[in-house]
Symmetry: C2
Subunit: 305 residues, 2 copies
DNA sequence: TCAAAAGTGTTATGCTTACACCCATGC
DNA sequence: GCATGGGTGTAAGCATAACACTTTTGA
């Protein structure tokens, strides 16, 4: 990086990059077979799950995320979040999508901006760097394709290796955001799939919450919310009684636009994000707040509803 | 700006800017006649909510925010959010703070990153532009200093002029965020001041919620939350019975750091933000979630507390 | 003594929790 | 029939919403 000394570097405009925290549901053990082959355990703290067979009641799902190994300094050889540069003629979301695609081949089902990091200290002697971080969700089935990629590996959320830069904090941030967003159908759907049994959805919620959730109450609450819609089908998960299959009732937002940020299966750019000029196409968008039960102040407002 | 044609511009790296949505509590009176009457409001220099000496505990507080008039194309002459460029050797937060200072002289008491906007469409033919937007809170008293600034004017949140770029959406986004963050002491405190009567705090909550809140229940709920601490003082707001004065019980977060993002009265840079390398110094930081009652999924988790 | 705001009591209602129970199915 | 998970019932406890009520002050 022959860019001269520090003061010269400091005078440079910051570089802009986009990184993505990709999250998927996976088994607690080796379940999907896909997840992390222990073969290449050379570097990191045993990324192999297997540690815990499973907690108690049902909670066998875990969150997993793919990391890429850095091939250049700084932090060469360490694991890092997938990312890439920002092209001037692309939206941030497109850049996030592209960065993600180029590293993993996976198409996210959900994509939301998380935060922008830009402290000078992040650069570690390199160029000043601003990172716009997104988080993405992919379905568990999709995690399959990656068993062999050599410099991409999936890690369970609770057992990450040491990470380059400040990526560890970024991941923590993303997980926290996920836990506070799960109530939105857009989010949960992207983890379970378009249709699901209540037990499956329950499993997702437990995996994200990291705590057991009473199934009976969960069921009632979900159904009462009117967010679910029975498909009529039945699905046999185990070898016993089949369960009813649901989907989320179409998440049309009050203003008529549809469920916003959700990204389809292919590489397409949702209309709304690009529609209004630089509109805050973010799930923190006012339009998305359909159930303000998550808002403490709401509790103080009398005639709500 | 002599930068060649469109395709040349497109190949340029995007410029990075930081903008700030500044919010303060003010009176409801169309005080100062400031209230942007849509008739030629553009030039009327009247300004500032005149600080509305005291809506007392009347509960007619409103949110106000300062805008600056653009002096160059595009959108020359229109109102826009205060903002500025990003220097490579400054943190994003510092840049936000500086941008704010240079335009308004006000020191925010609270500063949080909101979102980063970067769609190519935002540039309106200019250079590609990435804007990192912060929102800030200032106390109502401080709004005084600005009566005469010619190209800075305060507008009530419910009566904004037409804005440059996508700034209107950005403001909406900020207001939404505020309404979802008010439950955090850090936020409310910055609007009321360090000490306050319950009526004053109630007033703030009502202003932000935009709806009436039963005072009796509000009082009980607040006191029950253990977040408040009586100072022992009494304060006479009107000409009648004085009310007890409270402050927020010290908001030390579990990890020992203090209330994070809150910015002091002077231009100082809080330790934590700069401390860890690029730590997500954002109030969406996990550490800040002390009352997860705002989380719908939390309701499903049994043994909480 | 009176108005106005501070502050307290009380009740109906609805939601959450915890857990017992019944139902449907494959073996 | 029986084990297993799907699915329902229900009572205790808690929090809220609404509003009536008492207390304290300055004028």
């Amino acid at each position: 990086m022959g860019l001269g000394n520090v003061s010269e570097r400091r005078s440079q405009p910051p570089q802009i990059g986009v990184s993505v925290v990709i999250l998927a549901l996976g088994g607690d053990e080796d379940s999907t077979g896909t997840t992390v082959d222990s073969s290449d355990a050379a570097t990191a703290t045993a990324a192999v799950p297997t540690t815990t067979p499973k907690p108690a009641s049902g909670g066998r799902s875990r969150l997993w995320l793919p990391l890429v190994r850095r091939v250049r300094q700084p932090f060469k050889g360490m694991w890092a979040l997938p990312g890439g540069g920002l092209r001037a003629d692309r939206s941030l979301e497109q850049a996030a999508y592209a960065a993600l695609e180029s590293t993993t081949d996976l198409h996210p089902r959900y994509l939301e901006q998380l935060h922008t990091f830009g402290d000078p200290a992040r650069s570690h002697g390199g160029l000043p760097m601003v990172s716009i971080v997104y988080w993405a969700l992919v379905g568990r089935a999709e995690t399959k394709d990656f068993a062999d990629a050599d410099n991409v590996r999936w890690f369970p959320e609770h057992d990450l290796p040491e990470l380059a830069f400040d990526h560890r904090q970024i991941i923590d941030h993303a997980l926290w955001r996920l836990r506070n967003r799960i109530e939105y159908p857009e989010v949960a759907t992207r983890l379970v799939g378009d249709t699901f049994t209540l037990a499956q959805l329950h499993d997702v919620y437990e995996a994200i919450a990291g705590e057991p959730i009473d199934l009976a109450n969960f069921r009632r609450k979900m159904l009462a919310s009117k967010q679910l819609e029975a498909t009529g089908e039945k699905r046999r998960e185990g070898r016993h009684r089949p369960a009813a299959v649901y989907r989320y009732a179409d998440a049309a937002t009050p203003d008529g636009t549809d469920g916003n940020m959700a990204v389809g299966d292919g590489p397409r750019w949702p209309g709304r994000a690009a529609g209004a000029v630089g509109a805050p196409a973010d799930s923190t968008d006012p339009a998305e707040v359909r159930d303000p039960s998550d808002d403490a102040i709401a509790a103080l407002i009398p005639s709500r509803e």
